[in-house]
């Protein structure tokens, strides 16, 4: 199977999966005793967070491969950038859906819970990484520095999580009860949850593949654009 067809297949499967998750999540699964209809957020929120995590892990691994002299290739740089970009989108979605959950269960849009605070810091951390990638300059220099920044960002995640957890656990008990993180799921609910993880992961793969291809094409356009323009100019000269 050619690469294009594989990407298309992944995209189609992801789309079918998301539609099925939507249908199961909204119409088939029952309300939860404690959370009512709100439990349906369970079918998108954790899988979005999972995808963000996978995306950053992928960005970390490809940055490592890029920095390693033997495996240094522009494709790892492109993959890291594509994956981190999708990761930032899903981190944003995680924050939004988490906020909706918070507003309806705890009555507040935001609480300084360790997980939330870490996610918010992660969001700005990788926004910085993406900003660094877009800086004009020698592509190799920018790629190498971005790779180093991606490694530091990834190393920083546990540091941030640990410090924020400690910060919240001392002296200031959380103002809102964070019940609901250990929800008991079973049967059709568990299946829908599982399906959402699979289909969101497929959507991640599809988006990353397209973003990767776009990056490769725009690099090629930059490389060949000038040559093409020069050739056209020369051709004009020959005609005249």
């Amino acid at each position: 199977m050619s690469r294009n067809r594989l990407v298309r297949l992944v995209g189609a499967l992801g789309l079918v999966g998301v539609i099925a998750t939507y249908w199961l999540g909204l119409f088939v699964t029952p309300n939860a005793k404690l959370f009512g209809s709100l439990v349906r957020l369970l079918y998108i929120h954790p899988s979005m967070a999972w995808v963000a995590f996978v995306a950053y892990g992928m960005a970390f691994c490809s940055s490592l491969l890029y920095l390693w002299p033997r495996t240094r290739h522009a494709r790892f740089d492109r993959l890291a950038g594509a994956s981190a970009e999708v990761g930032v989108v899903f981190t944003g979605l995680t924050l939004v859906t988490g906020s909706i959950w918070g507003r309806t269960t705890w009555g507040v849009w935001w609480t300084w819970d360790p997980l939330l605070t870490t996610t918010a810091l992660l969001f700005v951390l990788y926004l910085g990484y993406l900003a660094l990638r877009r800086v004009p300059g020698d592509p190799e220099v920018v790629a190498r520095r971005s790779a180093i920044a991606a490694l530091i960002a990834f190393v920083d995640v546990p540091v941030v999580y640990f410090s924020v957890t400690w910060w919240r656990s001392l002296h200031q008990p959380p103002t809102v009860d964070l019940a609901g993180r250990h929800l008991y799921v079973h049967g059709i609910m568990a299946f829908t949850l599982f399906l959402s993880f699979v289909s969101f992961t497929l959507v991640y793969a599809w988006l990353t593949a397209h973003r990767y291809r776009l990056a490769a094409l725009s690099e090629r356009e930059e490389d060949e654009g000038l040559d093409l323009a020069l050739e056209e100019r020369r051709a004009e000269g020959v005609l005249a």
């Binding site: 660094l132 180093i148 941030v160």
Partner: protein, 222 residues
């Protein structure tokens, strides 16, 4: 490595002593920041004094962005960066030297700023030992992160706006730890502050180690 670090730190501090940019610009900037906090929160000491530790460390964090930018602006002029690469100094030594110079400047800044905070926000500086130890540990961490990101942003065309965005989120745990340690010491619980101090030392070690590893690849490029 240590010898190289001494050379680079000495060079950077000598430049600062002669040009006095840190003294004439960064210290006044920090003073402006704590004045602005006072204006934003109002003259009520009951509001200002519990927030003092956090405000102090935010001011330090913002100033350390400037100190880092200055540290690499020095290398940008007259091809100094190439000179540094040609000098044959160990990259880890260069990193440690530059970080030590930035840390030295920040320590002086913190000493001046803490007096300012004490006066303006009506604070009694109790638990001096924990306060000073916190300053030392937090500053090492800040300087290490700052210099690493300073090197990442240096020489790029839009570095001025990029550095704060890269640096501040990574420095957030240091802000958290330092603020809590100061809070505990100022409210008469230096024992609880010591726990945060330990955390700051761990951060400092992690960030210094990352900087030592990352600086070689950052310098070797064209």
């Amino acid at each position: 490595m240590w010898h190289d670090a001494f050379l680079v730190a000495g060079k950077d501090l000598r430049i600062e002593l002669r040009s006095k940019v840190a003294l004439n610009q960064v210290v006044p900037f920090a003073a402006v920041v704590i004045l602005l906090f006072g204006l934003a929160l109002g003259p009520n000491r009951a509001v200002l004094s519990p927030a003092a530790a956090g405000l102090f460390w935010v001011a330090v964090l913002l100033s350390s962005v400037l100190a880092t930018q200055r540290s690499f602006a020095v290398e940008a002029a007259d091809g100094a960066r190439d000179g540094l690469r040609l000098s044959g100094l160990d990259p880890a030594g260069i990193f440690l030297g530059k970080a030590a110079a930035v840390a030295g400047e920040l320590i002086v800044l913190e000493a001046l700023l803490s007096v300012g905070v004490a006066v303006l926000y009506g604070l009694e500086l109790t638990g001096a030992l924990v306060l000073i130890a916190t300053c030392l540990a937090a500053t090492v961490g800040l300087a290490a992160v700052g210099v690493t990101y300073g090197a990442i942003a240096s020489g790029l065309r839009i570095k001025e706006t990029l550095l704060p965005l890269l640096f501040l989120p990574v420095a957030a745990p240091v802000l958290l730890g330092a603020t809590k340690a100061w809070d505990e010491a100022l409210t008469g619980r230096p024992g609880a502050g010591a726990g945060w101090l330990g955390l700051l030392v761990v951060f400092a070690v992690i960030y210094v180690a990352v900087g030592i590893v990352a600086f070689g690849p950052l310098l070797e490029e064209a």
